[in-house]
Symmetry: C2
Subunit: 329 residues, 2 copies
DNA sequence: ATGAAAGCGCTAACAA
DNA sequence: TTGTTAGCGCTTTCAT
């Protein structure tokens, strides 16, 4: 592997001049520039990023800390973050926490400034005291914990209200919710939106129609739906706090021969790619994932350049994708 | 951020001693060890990986080059690779190529030895001449191109035969295939297995039942299925070269009121998580993704340690997950 | 067993 | 405009 020194020797100039050419700096005598460029070409020189970053005091990486890549929402988001980071010459380091407190703590602990320049976090269990980050960071989504970290995400209360209002507009009156979670801030907000929409329409809040979910996987949605269908008075609609739960719920409905949307309308959240292709296809709250990724990376770029910028809270847009699980084709 | 020097000063020893303690090397006088450990604790020292790797001539990263994280198969695989790499103290750098030749070339070009120690590649369009890697690499899956790179993957011909034999055992006789692709090696092998299974059973090969797919997304499967259902003599079964195509095919079947599996049995490939939850659930060839991830990382670890190990070709196991899309519940 | 010092490849301050 | 050189934080001879 050719180094700057090799190139300099070949071109008969100093490393500084080569460095200048490589970095597009200042003014280099045309003659020298040409010889350096030839030497660069001849040696196939490629800068050693490790050395460059050591010198510059940066790493060239940002971390993306998320529960699990096998969860479609995070996989899609990760792809978008990688694309957005590329435009800022950042490589992305993905850390999986599996949604556990210990996993999240471990991931955070590994995020020294020598490893990454900044971090995008999507925590589920972290406590306030854990947020002693040594690099600029941005939180994805809303959380109850009041931590001094910038955030990017949608308005969960409004999004949940939109979903439930849609169900109400369809004439549904016994609307269930799947995904309540005591510790999870996002869940609390979606539940709040659910309640607000019910109240607004003068519908009663029935606590047996609110089913918690420990995890947000398909199996949890399936189990929750079984609970709901076993009720003496089952719901005629259900708002799931993510698409995975909704897919599980639809699966249970199919197994029990409950017709969707005729007997039961279902709305999900996240608008996973797969949701457009299920039968019936799934109505879902669609956050603008590309906007989230872009906003997060932009925010970090600013913070990395000027570390003590004020906290920010970016609200990204969302929409409701209406499909067959609420409106028959 | 505390450096080795800081710790050494605090402990009243040389950096060498501290380095020895940090790296668990040789014998350190108990008294010194204790003082170093206290200083380590007091300063909250964390080694600067960039500097360490610069010195060691390694980067601490491996690249995972894949088409797209939004494709569930790759997302699941990526998660497993990250987990496997962690056990070898490697961080994973994910590069998305979007399956294009230019994307793949660009990704490869960026893989200098100063960026990554090794690479796991999942190419779709690369030509032989592109494989001028400067770091140890492993190819995921089988490819026609004869390149001097180790490979890890399943036996695609055998896997495809297993899938088609299953359909034949169900009494299906007009078995279609979705996903033929002129350039893609994996597609050629799956097609080969499809043909072999038909031949073995004395079934005719009907070329109109083989539908190509430019991409392997859900939309492509849906379109291919429309083509098949428009045939004067449509198939009674279809083998899709991945689960995404199968999901699309199922969607089209539902739209056309074709009953699965009664009128049409469907088998997919990859066993994506989502495939167990569709209605009907999808029968699928299930590669052992964890084994693939582990084998790939292990192989790279060996190659990184002793660069001129012989080429290897690891065959990982697979199974057939039989579900409702072929056998009604 | 431990210290001193060189050097990984690069950038930037300082000289020239 | 370009060369010389120090030094980023670490590991590792080479002494001691």
């Amino acid at each position: 592997m050719a180094t700057l020194k090799d190139v300099a020797r070949l071109a008969g100039v100093s490393v500084k001049t080569v460095s200048n050419v490589v970095n597009g700096y200042s003014f280099v005598k045309p003659d020298n520039r040409r010889r350096v460029e030839e030497a660069l070409e001849a040696t196939g020189y490629r800068p050693n990023l490790g050395a460059r970053n050591l010198r510059r005091g940066r790493t060239g990486f940002i971390a993306l800390v998320l529960p699990e890549l096998s969860i479609p929402y995070f996989a899609e988001l990760a792809g978008l973050v990688i694309a957005a980071a590329q435009e800022h010459e950042w490589n992305v380091l993905i850390e999986q926490t599996f949604g556990t407190l210990s996993g999240e703590r471990q991931a955070l602990a590994s995020l020294g400034p020598h490893l990454v320049d900044a971090a995008i976090l999507s925590p589920e269990a972290l406590q306030v005291e854990d947020f002693q980050l040594s690099v600029p960071a941005v939180l994805l989504g809303e959380h109850d914990v009041e931590v001094p970290i910038s955030r990017v995400g949608i308005d969960n209360v409004a999004a949940a209200m939109t979903a439930v209002r849609h169900l109400i507009s369809l004439g549904r009156t016994r609307i269930a919710a799947i995904g309540a979670h005591p510790q999870r801030g996002t869940a609390a907000l979606r539940l709040e939106g659910y309640q607000a929409a019910l109240e607004e329409a003068g519908l009663p809040f029935v606590s047996s129609l609110v089913v918690p979910a420990v995890n947000y996987h398909r199996a949890d949605g399936a189990a929750a739906m079984r609970t709901l269908l076993d009720l003496r008075n089952p719901p005629d609609a259900v708002f799931c706090f993510n698409d995975l739960l909704a897919v599980g719920a639809m699966r249970t409905a199919a197994e029990r021969f409950v017709r969707v949307p005729h007997d039961l309308a279902i709305v999900g959240f996240d608008n996973n790619d797969e949701s457009a292709y299920s039968s019936p296809s799934l109505t879902s709250v669609a956050p603008d994932k590309a906007a989230i990724a872009r906003a997060a990376v932009d925010l970090l770029r600013q913070r990395a350049d000027s570390p003590d910028l004020a906290l920010d809270d970016v609200q990204t847009p969302f929409s409701l994708q209406v499909r067959e699980s609420t409106v028959a084709r």
